[in-house]
Structures are given as structure tokens and as C-alpha cells.
């Protein structure tokens, strides 16, 4: 017989824990849920938009009753549990309903804090906590005019904004001299206040409430200094206190909340607690993201896996008031020894402040332009050194490409029909609707449901900003450790390290050792594993064709109509008359519908049928061509300028050096595509400073540049060093390339990789450590011995024939 699990508290934290549990152990428990509210589980943090009239209750339901019955869960809604009989392991509800448990999960949430002043129980004095409160406010806005909100924090301001939207005349009363003082510093707080005043909100600052006045129904609020303000409705939005009453009465150890350890267990080993009612390492969280992390851990423990631990959360804040972008995280009030960076533009209403210590971000406050909030937050959580980009950090990550987004940074002020994802044509309204309708909390969810940010990824910052401002603090920012894909808990770095340390030399070996959850992986992890194994064990690992994307299996670029394109390699962009003639003949012979000169100084032949590829390659290899690898996560092209052979400005033989570099690197598989260029003088006609590895020749030698990108996000290279000879250029190129091949995540270009590991670290290892540089170069050359076998020639001679030959029905 199955064990019995009871959840007390039908809210987001508890139900999320059940969802996590059902994912990993669907049949382990008979589950019963008690909820005091008469609804299914709804998205409590979306109550603000409901109050503001931007959403309906239906929009914010997360789990309807169908979900409970589909999962075989008994739901007792509207039944508050009043007693836990720990001796007999049963819970008893107010109406006398009882149920037995083997394990009990408490997720009783929190109660609003009602200021203990005379008159707080009068009609028309409410909190802002649940659907019932929202209904009361919506009704009041129809019958009455004047509202007072006590509390100028997150909760109070969202309530005030909603009531104002419903047509009420709203005054916010705040005890201190600055709004949201726990989330904002003074300058940001002042900007916020000015903006809200501009919308018609009134404020009474430094006002201590003494009494709620009125006969029966509230008529006003009196302050300690004797002054009064009229009110038909008073909303207490000063904060929440963990609801630990039930646990306390059952004799469980409680302080502010129910005390739990790192596996979310209370002092009774059969009882767990998650969410706002739980107190972990002294902290009771009132935000949603930590609750989800806790839910994952509790589910892991309930499923008796026992390896997940919760170690606390660093949280960030957003205000869900449409049109106001603010963000804060960490310790944004500087302490002694901290450094502060500020960017302030009062005219445009922009303010950014970072608190830095030892080149690490400790805290951030932003107002107006918050697009980089998620980036700063990530740098902060990961403790990344900002030494390499201190000078520009306040201007943001510039992750938004120049292409297709304009310079829009204020996502909340965009209209609903503004296009966010230029690849898939997804508008702001589509994304916001999907987030609220499907209860999405992560970037992955938004990608799956809307396709936004799922192609080139350049709008990721915008989508994250929308996610953060739509669900507010519930936004589940990218976790500290990003799993490689859904098949594993391990990150790219951990997989790369395991392959090396434990000498894993086949894909089944990796999946077994790292306890993959799927028997043969997925379309995301298989190509990655195949690459990592190939890069680490070039001489031993047998390449797995079925784990390569079709382009690398068919050695051509698949086009939208299912035909392929063919790009012969032209070393350094040089070409001879015979070669051009051969290309022309091939195009005639196979009726190639279109030819194009590419940006990488090659010729692209479009519209080739797959069956024709091997014989076309035979003609091309007979003319001396090899594959151009224009289809692969591989070394693509070396672009060159004329150089000193012809150009009157040329300082070195750039074409000759380009040919040498291409002869060194062609055929090499990479984490992503990899482009080189050699310019013969600083005029840089080959555009070497937006390449993965670029050489700019000068009279006295060669400047080596790394980590450039001319695509989605234009990034100018960093100068690695300057060398004197062509031999050194080749050695540094091979060593840098090998470092990238061994360390970067699959599908990570050099530009983000250089930013992630830091230019300083790359420089130290390549410049200061000649032994390491030479070893890297040596390993690169070993790999090249295996990979410089022309795949076209092999297939022209019959390899992999089945790939190119369709089946026919005999007869």
C-alpha cells in the first residue's frame, strides 16, 4: 500500500512541491491537500494586476480542480486544518474532517500584518493578501471614492496603484521618509515617488498611524501628530508574518516561522515545511523564487532521493506597476570599504547604482532602465569578477543586438504590439499573455510556449525583463548552476570535467557515469556530448553521426525547402581560373539555381538535392577543392585583404598568412562556428576585429585579436598580444583555438566565452606560460591529424552512402 502524504496549505509553495514530486516519483504517495481558501491554486503574486484590472482571476489560476483529479490528489478546499495529532499522525480540520499521514508537508504561508491600532477591525479596513481582499477592494472602488493605503513598500504600492486604476483617490501613508526603503536607496526612491505622483497618487511621508476612525465603517485615519485624513477604505500593506500557528500548537519548534533544516524538515522528521511559513537559517522568505527552490528540495527528500539541499537564496525585487521599471538586489547600501558606481540621468528618469567590493557586485539598484538587472544579478550570484569590464559595466551588457530591436530598454512602457522577438515575430502582448495564462516562471517556459528568444537569442534580455516585470519577484532567474539540458542535473562545465577526469570515452559511458535521465539523450545534449568527447579524445573517440545535426551529417547546409547548399573551401579567399571554371561546370551539370559570393570570401551554391551531393563533391574534389565546412560548428573561413603583394598600404603578406592559418585550422570541429581574418594594415579591410581570431598586420609585426563577433551581438575583439613572426601567429592561433575548444560550452561563441572566463585569465595562460601555450598548440595539432580528412572526398568515394540514397519500393 502506498504511503500517505498530506499537504496543508493549497498555495504556490505547497503545490509547486507536489508538482516537483510528481515529476520524479509519480506513484509514491496517496496525496491529500487541505486549503483554507475556496479555490484551486492560484498565482498569488499576480493579484496586483488583477486589482489593476489588467488580469482576471481566471488568468491567474495555476492548477484548476481538473489538475488535482488528473493526478489522483484528494482536494479539500475551504477546509482549514486546526490540529495536528503527531502521536497518531493525523490532521483534523475545523469541520471535523480527519486524515492520516505518513509524511506531512506544511505550506501554510503567511498572514498580513495588521498594525495594532484602535479601530483596525472596523468595516472597510482590510489587508492585501488573497482573492477575497481583491474582491473587497474592487467592490469598494465602485461604492466609495477615497482610499488610504498604509505602507509604502512593495505590497502597499501595488495595492495603491491598483485602487488608483480602479478610479479611487488614493493616499499612501508611510512611516519613513522614503518609499520601498528595503528595496531602494534614496535617489531611486525619490524617482519612484515623483513618477507615482505624476500619475496622481498622493503621499503622506513620515506619518505614524495612531487610530482608524469612524462609526462602524471606516471614515478616516488619525496620526500621532493629531492630523487626520479622510478614508472610505483602508488597506494595510505593511508586510506579512509567517503563519506558524498550526505548527506551534502541535508543539513543533518555531521562532518567527516554522524552523526547518537544509532539507526543509521540521523538528519532527515526518513533517516538512516550505514557503513563507518556513524559517530557514534564520530567514523566512516572502518572495516566490526562494519558495520554488525550497519546493524542489522538499520534493527530492519526499521522493526519498535525499541528495538535494537548500542553502538559502539571494533575492531580487521588481515592482509590478505597469510602466515603472525598477530593480534591486543584494546589499545596495554601501558599507565601509565598498565602492559605489552611479549612473544618473534625471532628465530621462534613469538611475543605476552598483555596490562593489573586491571587483564583485554586492548589490544593485536600478530605476528607469532595468534591462541589465538580470545580468547584474547573475554576476552577483555567481561572484564573477568584473575587473575586465569595470569601465563599461554601468552601460550594461549590450546583449540586445543592434539588429532588430532598436535601442529599446524600457520594456514595460512598450505597447503590447511591439515586436520583441524579430526571428519568430512574437510581440510583447503574446509573451505577457502566455506568462499569465500558463503560469510561466522561467525563460525556458517562455521559449517553449511562445518561441520568443528561442532562435538567435538576441532578445533574451528583453524577454527576461518582461518575465521579471510580469511576474515580479516570482521570476525564477537563471539558477546558479544551469543544467546542460533536461536529461541531466549537471552543467556543461561539470560534464566537460567528468569526461576529462574520469576518462569517459563514449557517450553511453558519460550517460551512465553521470546518471543521465534519458536512455539516449536529446537533440540538445547528444551533439554537445559528441563534441566534448571528440575534442577531448580525438584519437580514441569514434564520432557518432546520429548525434550530429543534419548539416554536419550531410556536410551541407539544409535550406528551408530541404535542399542543401555547398561551399567549397578557398584557402584565404584566393581562387584560380581553373577552380572557378570547375565551379561553373558543376553548377551547370547539377542545375544549381543560385550562386552567391559570401561574406567569408567563398562561393555558395544553393538548391542542391541531397542525392546529388556525393557526385557533385566528386567533381569538386577532382578539381582540388575540399569541404568548406560552411555548415558546421567548425572552423569556417579565413578572410584576408590584398596585403603587401599588391596593396600600396600593406605592411605584411596578409593573404599568405591567411592561407597558412587556414591550412592549420581547416577541418577543426569547434563548440560553435569559428571565423578568422588577416588584415594587412590597420585600415583593417578584412574586418579582423570582429572575428573569433583576427590578425592585424603592422609594420613591426602582428597584432592578435580574440573574441570578436559580427552577428547577433556585434562585439569588437580584445587585443591578446602583439608578436613578431608568422610562426608565432600560428602558435598563438592554435593555442587559443585549443583553449576555446577544450573549455567553452557547446554552442558558445568565443565572444561570450571570453566574457565569461575573462580576458585576464586567457592572457595569463597564453602569454605568461609558454609551456602551457606550447602544450595547447601541440594538442591542437594532434586533433587536426584526425580531423583534416576531407569529408567530401570520403563520401564521394562511397562513405555513408545510406545517408544520401533514398529507399525505393522494389518492383
Amino acid at each position: 500500500m502506498k504511503e500517505k502524504l498530506i499537504l496543508v496549505g493549497n498555495g504556490m509553495a505547497g503545490v509547486r512541491t507536489l508538482e516537483e514530486l510528481l515529476k520524479i516519483a509519480p506513484d509514491m504517495y496517496d496525496i491529500t491537500v487541505f486549503g483554507a481558501e475556496p479555490y484551486g491554486n492560484y498565482n498569488r503574486i499576480m493579484l496586483s494586476p488583477v486589482l489593476a484590472g489588467e488580469k482576471t482571476i481566471d488568468d491567474i489560476m495555476l492548477n484548476d480542480e481538473q489538475w488535482y483529479s488528473d493526478n489522483g490528489i484528494a482536494l479539500y478546499k475551504g477546509k482549514a486544518v486546526t490540529e495536528i495529532d503527531r502521536l497518531n499522525k493525523k490532521v483534523i480540520a475545523a469541520d471535523g474532517t480527519t486524515a492520516d499521514y505518513d509524511r506531512l508537508l506544511l505550506a501554510t504561508g503567511s498572514n498580513p500584518f495588521m498594525i495594532p491600532v484602535p479601530g483596525k477591525d472596523k468595516d472597510g479596513v482590510i489587508a492585501f493578501r488573497d482573492i477575497n481582499d481583491v474582491d473587497t477592494m474592487l467592490q469598494a472602488s465602485k461604492d466609495y471614492k477615497k482610499a488610504v493605503v498604509i505602507g509604502g513598500g512593495l505590497l502597499g504600492l501595488e495595492a495603491a496603484n491598483g485602487l488608483m486604476k480602479q478610479g479611487m483617490d488614493v493616499t499612501v501613508v508611510h512611516l519613513l521618509d522614503a518609499l520601498m526603503e528595503r528595496q531602494l536607496d534614496k535617489p531611486a526612491s525619490a524617482l519612484l515617488k515623483a513618477s507615482l505622483e505624476g500619475r496622481g497618487m498622493n503621499f503622506m511621508m513620515e506619518a505614524a498611524t495612531a487610530e482608524i476612525i469612524g462609526n462602524g465603517r471606516v471614515q478616516g485615519v488619525r496620526f500621532k501628530d493629531g492630523s487626520e485624513v479622510e478614508a472610505d477604505l483602508v488597506v494595510m500593506g505593511v508586510g506579512i508574518v509567517p503563519n506558524a500557528e498550526l505548527a506551534k500548537s502541535a508543539g513543533l519548534h518555531c521562532e518567527r516561522g516554522i524552523v526547518v533544516n537544509d532539507v526543509m524538515q521540521t523538528f519532527d522528521p515526518a513533517i516538512y515545511a516550505v514557503g513563507e511559513c518556513a524559517q530557514h537559517r534564520g530567514i523566512a522568505y516572502g518572495l516566490v523564487a526562494p519558495l520554488f527552490e525550497q519546493g524542489k528540495v522538499a520534493a527530492n527528500q519526499l521522493a526519498k532521493l535525499g541528495y538535494a539541499h537548500y542553502r538559502g537564496s539571494i533575492t531580487s525585487t521588481k515592482l509590478k506597476v505597469t510602466g515603472i521599471d525598477l530593480f534591486s538586489a543584494g546589499e545596495f547600501h554601501e558599507a565601509e570599504g565598498d565602492e559605489v558606481m552611479v549612473l544618473q540621468d534625471p532628465a530621462s528618469g534613469t538611475y543605476k547604482k552598483l555596490v562593489i567590493n573586491d571587483n564583485r557586485i554586492k548589490g544593485a539598484v536600478m530605476y528607469g532602465d532595468t534591462i541589465d538587472g538580470t545580468w547584474y544579478f547573475q554576476l552577483m550570484r555567481e561572484g564573477t569578477s568584473i575587473a575586465d569590464f569595470r569601465k563599461t559595466i554601468l552601460f550594461g551588457q549590450h546583449d540586445l543586438g543592434d539588429a532588430g530591436h532598436g535601442d529599446e530598454t524600457r520594456v514595460m512602457s512598450l505597447s503590447n504590439d511591439a515586436e520583441i522577438c524579430g526571428c519568430n515575430g512574437v510581440c510583447k502582448g503574446d509573451i505577457v499573455n502566455a506568462i499569465s495564462r500558463h503560469g510561466l516562471f522561467t525563460l525556458e517556459d517562455v521559449r517553449a510556449h511562445t518561441k520568443a528568444s528561442s532562435s538567435c537569442g538576441s532578445c533574451t534580455g528583453l524577454v527576461e525583463a518582461l518575465l521579471a516585470s510580469t511576474v515580479g519577484e516570482g521570476y525564477d532567474a537563471s539558477p546558479n548552476k544551469q543544467a546542460m539540458c533536461k536529461c541531466t542535473e549537471y552543467s556543461h562545465d561539470e560534464v566537460i570535467a567528468a569526461i576529462k577526469t574520469h576518462e569517459l570515452k563514449s557517450m553511453p559511458a558519460v550517460r551512465e557515469f553521470l546518471e543521465w535521465k534519458t536512455p539516449d539523450g536529446c537533440a540538445a545534449c547528444r551533439p554537445a556530448l559528441n563534441y566534448y568527447l571528440l575534442a577531448r579524445w580525438p584519437e580514441e573517440y569514434a564520432d557518432d553521426a546520429q548525434s550530429r545535426f543534419i548539416n554536419e551529417r550531410a556536410h551541407g547546409n539544409i535550406q528551408k525547402d530541404g535542399t542543401y547548399s555547398v561551399v567549397p573551401r578557398m584557402f584565404g579567399g584566393l581562387v584560380k581560373p581553373d577552380e572557378l571554371r570547375a565551379i561553373a561546370d558543376v553548377c551547370d551539370k547539377y542545375a544549381v539555381p543560385e550562386m552567391k559570393v559570401t561574406g567569408g570570401q567563398r562561393i555558395d551554391l544553393f538548391g542542391v538535392h541531397k542525392e546529388d551531393l556525393p557526385s557533385m563533391w566528386k567533381d569538386l574534389t577532382d578539381a582540388g577543392f575540399v569541404s568548406g565546412h560552411a555548415y558546421g560548428k567548425a572552423m569556417r573561413t579565413v578572410k584576408t585583404c590584398a596585403g603587401k603583394t599588391w596593396c600600396r598600404f600593406g605592411t605584411q603578406n596578409s593573404t599568405g598568412l591567411g592561407v597558412q592559418l587556414e591550412e592549420l585550422t581547416w577541418g577543426s570541429w569547434m563548440p560553435h562556428k569559428f571565423k578568422l581574418a588577416v588584415s594587412g594594415c590597420p585600415r583593417n579591410c578584412a574586418e579582423a576585429t570582429i572575428k573569433d581570431f583576427g590578425v592585424v598586420c603592422v609594420d613591426s609585426g602582428y597584432e592578435l585579436h580574440i573574441g570578436g563577433n559580427g552577428g547577433i551581438k556585434v562585439r569588437v575583439t580584445d587585443l591578446l598580444t602583439k608578436v613578431d613572426t608568422e610562426e608565432e601567429v600560428l602558435e598563438y592561433c592554435g593555442a587559443f583555438t585549443q583553449m576555446y575548444r577544450e573549455e567553452a560550452h557547446y554552442l558558445e561563441r568565443t565572444a561570450p566565452w571570453v566574457e565569461r572566463v575573462g580576458l585576464t585569465s586567457i592572457r595569463e595562460r597564453l602569454l605568461n606560460d609558454a609551456t602551457q601555450r606550447k602544450e595547447l598548440y601541440e594538442r591542437f595539432k594532434i586533433g587536426q591529424r584526425v580531423s583534416q580528412v576531407d569529408p567530401w572526398k570520403a563520401r564521394a568515394e562511397g562513405a555513408e552512402r545510406h545517408e544520401f540514397t533514398p529507399l525505393k519500393i522494389a518492383g
Partner: protein
């Protein structure tokens, strides 16, 4: 009426791979899973008609090479949250030979 038509040897289809069968009316993709099950579906993704035969096979699904839709090999249905369906054909493996259930017009190819 349905004809069981002999198509290929099982070993002609690579494990976790596919072959394309050309008929008069359409291309049919034959997939072979890690456990040697064989599935046949119309070689057109329900999204934008991409050639599913060129995708990466994992478990009993395939990921379309054009826009990464995941399609279930048994039902031809796009896997959530995407929605759409492509037609499927019954298959049978006997003595190392793969047979496909085709209507008479398709078998006449």
C-alpha cells in the same frame, strides 16, 4: 485496402537514424530507435513541412532540423507545448526485414 510492402533490411536503417522512402505521392521517413523499433511517418513536420527524416532521433521522438519541433514517432503528434500532427504508417519487422502498411496507390510507386 492495406498491403504490407517490403521496404528494406532493418540494418539498412542506422540506429537512432532514418531513411527516406520516396513514393509517387510523398516522402515517408522510416526511423529506427535504439531498441530497434521502426516507425514510419510522413516526412513533413506539422510546423513548416521540414524533413523530419533529417532530424535527431531520441527515445521515440525526432527533433525537426528546421525549427526544433519535437514529434512523437508513434503518433505523429507534435510534443507540447507545440500543436500539430503528421500522418503515420504501420510498420512490422520480421526476420530482419522492414514492412510498411501502404494503401494500393502508394504501393504502386
Amino acid at each position: 485496402m492495406t498491403n504490407w510492402t517490403e521496404i528494406a533490411k532493418l540494418e539498412d536503417i542506422p540506429r537512432l537514424g532514418s531513411r527516406v522512402l520516396q513514393t509517387d505521392t510523398m516522402n515517408i521517413a522510416l526511423f529506427r530507435t535504439a531498441s530497434d523499433e521502426v516507425f514510419a511517418i510522413k516526412d513533413a513536420c506539422p510546423h513548416k513541412g521540414g524533413p523530419l527524416s533529417q532530424g535527431i532521433v531520441h527515445g521515440t521522438s525526432v527533433t525537426c532540423p528546421l525549427h526544433n519541433w519535437k514529434v512523437d514517432l508513434a503518433s505523429g503528434e507534435a510534443l507540447g507545448p507545440d500543436e500539430g500532427c503528421t500522418s503515420t504508417f504501420a510498420t512490422r519487422v520480421e526476420n530482419g526485414m522492414v514492412y510498411l502498411a501502404l494503401s494500393e496507390s502508394e504501393a504502386a510507386a
